[in-house]
Amino acid sequence: MKTPSSAFALVVDDDADTLLLVGEIFKIAGYSALTADNYETAVALLAQNPAVILLDVVMPHDLCNRLVAHLASMGSSVPVLLMSSMAPAQLEIERRLLVSAGVFAPTVLHKPFWVDALLSALSEALPSGSSDLALL
């Protein structure tokens, strides 16, 4: 586990392509992305206050539900983006379950997502930021 920078995103997923793509997008936007594929690592990184959490819904060992329970218990206000290839309606139900548990889950990402969909969701979750990034 790397030491997080001041603005970092926590990505909890077991899909290598998603981790690679998401990591690159965060780097472009000036964030670092740290990944976790197990409960203990994820909880340790959560304690360091990530700016946003990308959370895959379907993972081994009930990881998603356990992390959601942890976030709810700590009263976290960090935005959580749920990701999954499940049917859109089902994913929306999952998002509402998070919201009803007290977790801030503003939007979802349907896998496999195109870069623009990821940027759009992240813009919704993190609507303001530094304007001095040289991307163009």
Binding site: D116, L119, S123
Partner: protein
């Protein structure tokens, strides 16, 4: 859909994988790109080369066997390599797909040599970037649903010597751009109907919009919005409120990408610093 063979020469495994992911997921693909390992490729239509690794022997070999090969160079700085197609590594995800599509379009038009193989080209309807026409005043199109913003930009741009047309929404802008060319286009992001990102993509698909500098001017300050602008093909992304001197600097930078100083002064442009 036309197919192109893309040889990856000396790319880092991560960059090669990213290209594969992006090309697999990109929506509305006009062309099919088959990625092949440069070390094993015979001939190819396009080569993507890691310019930070020095001269690529694979590129040399493929070039010798491929008529009209177009090379795209990736580097940390975005300036290494030769030729016009160069991408900074950090923005590979944002720019590689549009650049590949653009190169493929140009190859089909015959601008960059014949496509090495596969299907016949689609009907050619797009001209190359037009040379500036001396004596004509520079013109800008401002697209914003706010009358106050349109007026403010119009007044500011006229001070620089530009003629200004305005559009209230995307459809009006596209109709205008189908009938005439501009030297500069300003786009709002949040508008009723089509947003500025989608409009920018459509502008880039028009013959008159492929090369025009596009400036996005918006109150959305998320770095992810800025990246969306880059992905859509805008040249400059300004966040409101923008200081007038920053606005003038952005206009000057956009115009000097396309015109020389002499061409600008011949077209009544007055630089304000």
């Amino acid at each position: 859909m036309s197919g192109f063979i893309v040889a990856l020469c000396s790319l880092l495994p991560k960059d090669a994988r990213l290209l594969e992911i992006v090309l697999t997921r990109a929506p509305g693909r006009k062309h099919e790109f088959k990625l092949v390992n440069g070390a094993e490729a015979g001939c190819a239509d396009i080569a993507i080369v890691d310019a930070d690794k020095g001269e690529s022997s694979d590129l040399k070999r493929i070039s010798a066997d491929s008529a009209g090969l177009v090379s795209i160079f990736i580097s940390d700085s975005g300036t290494a390599g030769h030729g016009e197609h160069r991408i900074a590594r950090k923005s590979l995800v944002l720019h590689c797909f549009r650049l590949l599509e653009s190169v493929a379009d140009a190859k089909l038009r015959g601008d960059l040599g014949e496509p090495a193989k596969v299907q016949a080209p689609a009907a050619i309807e797009t001209p190359k970037a037009e040379a500036p026409q001396p004596g004509l005043t520079l013109s800008a199109l401002v697209v914003d649903d706010s009358a106050a913003v349109r007026t403010q930009l119009e007044v500011t741009l006229k001070r620089l010597g530009l003629n200004v047309d305005t559009a209230q929404h995307a459809e009006e802008a596209l109709n205008t751009l189908r009938s005439r060319r501009y030297d500069l286009v300003f786009l709002d992001v949040v508008m009723p109907g089509m947003n500025g990102y989608d409009l920018c993509r459509q502008v880039r698909a028009l013959p008159s919009g492929r090369y025009v500098p596009v400036v996005m001017l918006t109150s959305r300050t998320s770095p992810f919005d800025r990246a969306r602008g880059a992905l859509a093909g805008c040249d400059t992304y300004l966040t409101k409120p923008v200081a007038v001197k920053d606005f003038y600097a952005a206009v000057h930078k956009a115009l000097t990408k396309r015109y020389t100083a002499d061409e600008l002064s011949a077209r009544s442009y007055r630089r304000i610093i």
